[in-house]
Symmetry: D4
């Protein structure tokens, strides 16, 4: 008997397949889900997969691709589906990498190009200024920051693109957990920023996908 009722209609309904949230699922459940998807010739993408569980899954599917920083696992041939559009992943510092990389991996799974624009922290604003041309050549900006989360405000006042701000749970004291960055992004003086949950690189990538799908009109799978 099968205890998983997977949403196989999502791709035709929304253009992107259901992606598996790895946290709180057992290795058995994950393997069963993978098996079902593969039977239907679908690629598999699992997020929030910790290294212990990943090791067991990799031993079953040795040609899958697990990435430790983003804690995500991809199985399948991604070369077939390349989509138009380009996303810039802007961040304050190297501590935000795990979130930026989750976004990058999600976009890769969806067939979309992204590039990273790192070390743009507002305490040295000239570094961001030097990177503005890189931002200008992108369709959508995903901007991640921990601590006081000020980077999206400054980017938001300079760029004209859609901006998705991602608060990161980096910092200590009142920054711990990312709530301060989240609140700062929600109350930004820069008009038209939108925000996703703390550390939600995955959600930011999907938000970007919806926007790119609107612009480029991706063919329905």
């Amino acid at each position: 008997m099968n205890d998983v009722d997977f949403d196989f209609q999502r791709e035709s309904r929304q253009g992107f397949p259901e992606i598996v949230f790895g946290e709180g699922k057992s290795v058995d459940q994950l393997l069963r889900i993978a098996e079902e998807l593969l039977e239907k010739q679908q690629n598999v993408f699992v997020t929030r997969l910790d290294p212990d569980k990943a090791a067991k899954i990799v031993s079953t599917y040795p040609d899958g691709d697990y990435d430790e920083v983003s804690r995500s696992w991809i199985y399948g041939d991604l070369s077939k589906r390349k989509r138009e559009g380009r996303v810039a992943l802007v961040s304050a510092g190297s501590s935000d990498r795990f979130v930026i990389d989750e976004a990058a991996r999600t976009l890769k799974f969806l067939g979309i190009d992204s590039h990273s624009v790192q070390d743009c922290g507002v305490a040295g604003i000239h570094r961001l200024m030097n990177r503005l041309p890189e931002l200008d050549s992108s369709d959508v900006l995903i901007v991640a920051a921990g601590f006081e989360g000020a980077l999206p405000s400054v980017v938001g006042g300079l760029a004209r693109q859609p901006i998705i701000a991602v608060p990161v749970s980096v910092g200590y004291g009142v920054a711990a957990g990312g709530e301060t960055a989240l609140r700062a992004m929600l109350t930004s003086c820069a008009a038209g920023l939108t925000v996703v949950n703390i550390d939600n690189g995955f959600g930011a990538a999907l938000g970007a996908f919806r926007i790119l799908n609107l612009k480029y009109g991706y063919p329905k799978s």
Copy 2:
């Protein structure tokens, strides 16, 4: 002497002009700002303008357009700038009107069409199902809800468009102030939702503008 350093470069930089946040500004300050803008042949849009202050401004500029529900004031000829694109304003009930109307007024000021899809509360889900075709014909969905803020989750699972969720400060007990709706939207299981501050119809509209500008490539003013 002038004590206001208005950001007149914003429109050429970002495609939308600086909009005036009315709260915490005196009538004198607001009138001075309006005068400056009009000298430069710009239209004026003031948000969060309470009726008392509005009455004084209307008496100086009787042909301006003040709206009590959205608490916003528009001055200028909006007919010249019509832009492509269509935004659906989806809401759970009539108590969310003040937020929806702020979004609608902001879009109107920016020259963009919007239409309201009301009374879609999830406690009577069939009502939303009946309105899906209306959603399908829109480029961007702005979805507002107070109380438990569940509407964007359901819409987010059905629609493929970019969705900007707006929590509304409607409700009592633990719903008071809109924090519950905000948190629910940020943690939605529906992938790719993005969120703005509580009651921030204005910000949702600007977020939609950035997306539409990406798709339609509005000419620079």
Copy 3:
């Protein structure tokens, strides 16, 4: 000397026996309580019993029944007490299993039937719609959800039964700990939902018991 003053009168007073909360109790205390209950020919049910302590208890009582997912231990012959009534355990996803299973085990201990209706997350609403007949055949619905906790709102607008909503501490960022799901359930637009503490599958089962006892008038033990 005995340092435990157990409430042996509860069953005659309320229809259900005192159930042992395992957290914060030492193995010694738990064994002493079990001994006392067994001397009085009562079955034993311990909740929130972590596997380390359980191992020691199982080694003393090898024919008891420990379940790892629900972290609960049952000792005694449950076949004698079967009670009327049927409870549906509705949940969004497999990450909610530990809570659903605590409810199921509690109901089993009390002699009541339950069945699980899983993978009904609101981001794929058609899955819930397909399961409505299953809900209709139940007396009481226990609905568990983590993240934004929207499932009880949707179920609450469709079903006529008593509904006990259980927030689950599944999720990250502002969902972490289950507070967001709790607040969403308390502020649901669906009328007549009632709510229990985060992860409290046990309490939800007892709430269902009180309701079934009212309907079926269980004989006093």
Copy 4:
């Protein structure tokens, strides 16, 4: 044109009609809703209706019944629908009256009997002990309390009925707003309590309705 999409199917779906939440609705909207309902020969019940708005509605419908303490308005002939079942409304003190009365009015609108068991605060526990027989003769107990919200815990350890606990926003300092009472009720040691939002007498009554409907099988309207 009509801007309200009322859920007229709720009564046949769930056994109780849609009830109007008065807060945040204008008098015009409320009158329009009333008119629609009356055209369909339905009774009208509006909650959270403040006295100013009520005065205007009463002047249009002078034979309606507005109650200041519960801030609710009933219009229609309630004599036709009497339903079986009896609810006890238990409270700590007279400051909880506005919540208790909202529950009583809602039950009255639904055709169900209730009776009040007041002044049972736990600081004088003998008073509650004296009232136990009154509780015993009821199907469902709604127990309201502000401050530390301990009353449902004590009642929950004595009674066998379904209990719906309602935190009340009475108190000062850390009791202000009712959050302390809410949290105390959710974490009660008394098994099987369920809880509704702060001050939500309406929701408690609907919760009781669902339970009574299960027991008595009210005929579908």
Copy 5:
């Protein structure tokens, strides 16, 4: 060189010596403090001493007395200082033991008698009623409770003695950490309760000491 400036004047100023808070101090620091105190012929009492550090201290002072439940260490001859007065340590259940025992150990160090009155949880109120005579024979009541923290309210309505309520960090969901119990105790309807920090058995004992010192006029050391 000595880097500790111990408050040796406290005993003459306040009747009780400075007691050492073990958390966050290294074993070296603790040994140095002990040495200094013993040079001055003072007994030593260390609270919040975790077992690892205790093991090292016990190996240096093998005739000291370490207690694992209360995590406290006493060194010295307590037989010389016996003081009048009697404190009852009332608690809801065995999970509160670590707090009750910290109070008991502190009182023991100060030369004061205490006795435990356990398993008085309000969900079985008859158990407390049976223990009232024990309470009556005490000068001061220390009442500890986790979860909803209702026990001090009920005791506070029955007893005439000074009552010091201690919230305990036992419980899960919204009870986790003890904040709910703390807030419930601070807002108790029972008049004249006073409260100490969460898990602060030590502080409750010192509070009792101040009261007993007032009554019995302990001789100054």
Copy 6:
């Protein structure tokens, strides 16, 4: 019919009569309670009585004694019951007066002497040092402070008496509402402080009463 179930047994049970909490009670309810108490030859004390309601009560009972700062009303002849014991009411500044005065009025009603020791804020510590003899001559110290609530910590390190700390809702920014002062008092390094709810001068006085009753053994009324 009488809808109030007053706890007339409290005085014989606990030594102090039930005192009426005025907030949330209507003038009618208050008058009915007063009438009942006076029929039984008891004095009346109402706390948290706002001036508007007080005016109506004073017009019915012109020889009662209403105090605007403490918002309390006393009716009856207090000269008959004088009790031993002396309480010092220590405070940081004149903004704390409304709390100090509520304590003073409550003590007066109970027949106990108090005296005020004001303007002892820790930012000018010499002022407190000058007042130490006044503290020494008191049985119990009630210490009130708003803002950072540091005064009880300093007093607690100097005095040997029982100390009841009262946080006051004076201050702005993160001090607003008194929560900061409350938390500071609960976490004081000075051993043996106990704390009551924010602004709870009444509760502090009752706490002092319990202590004085222990010392002086007030005759039972």
Copy 7:
């Protein structure tokens, strides 16, 4: 009799006199304090004085100087005490004026020059860049901002002076009350920022005074 124990030694101890916090003090208390100070030939400065109370004080002291925006009252001849040093008051927008002006008034009372650098919000970063020379010519920077409070981060990365950040209670939704700005400033990536309470222009000015006093060595009064 005098019930105020003013700290007249503060000026000789710390270089600045005690300043009167007007909130929560009655007009009578304020007049008595003023009288006492004037008898000692001291100037008077009252902060947080609302217009109603100010009107009464002005009618007694018509040559005092009340300012509505900063809600502060100065009485005395300030021309005698001019001190070296210059403070820049940097802010994001005109809504922060009430805080900036409180700082300016406090500095004026202390004999120190300040100048305002307004409209530097980070959403239009070029405006701040244009003002850098003005900042360079100042000893200390007081930087105020509401909403996401990002301005001090950017200034803190550009300027070498001591910076005192002041969060302002301007904004709505999660910005309301200034807590978000406070947290953002405390967690700034710009090193060496220090922060004062929300809206505390007064405290920022005193912080600047301490720094200037260190540099210029103001003569003791």
Copy 8:
């Protein structure tokens, strides 16, 4: 390829070099940053470096200086840059050492003298009084405290220097995490205190640096 965009201009812009935040950076990243800095003949200072990572770095750079209490690593010859000025590091107890030491190490790296004034807790205020001359001889006071955080208030009322208050995450119950100390410091009655993030000894040192730089006019590097 180099993925780090270090802010090498900071020292010339602000007088202090960029300092490396070790948390969340991998050993590889840290080594690459060190290499780059050393190529440019700059000293290296890494904060928040846990012992595991430090061990690997020390094995590469055996002549660097790692300190376990402050968790910081210094590499380079500090003897060349000695700067004028003296900072006192005042603290309540030995549990605050890790924060005080981070400040001391940061100042050492910057070439500035500091000295520690320990064990000044307000519960034994005479100890602080004895140390006042030590404070008087310092330019800037950094005052650290956990629990109720009252020490800066008392110091702030006695000293005339600039004071930077550092809340420490020491304590349990409502003190846990340092939020109570933070809030107490922000709301201090002592005028002109400024505050940094919880446990932020580094930031306090940089704040002191800015002040000393203002006074002594350090030559630009």
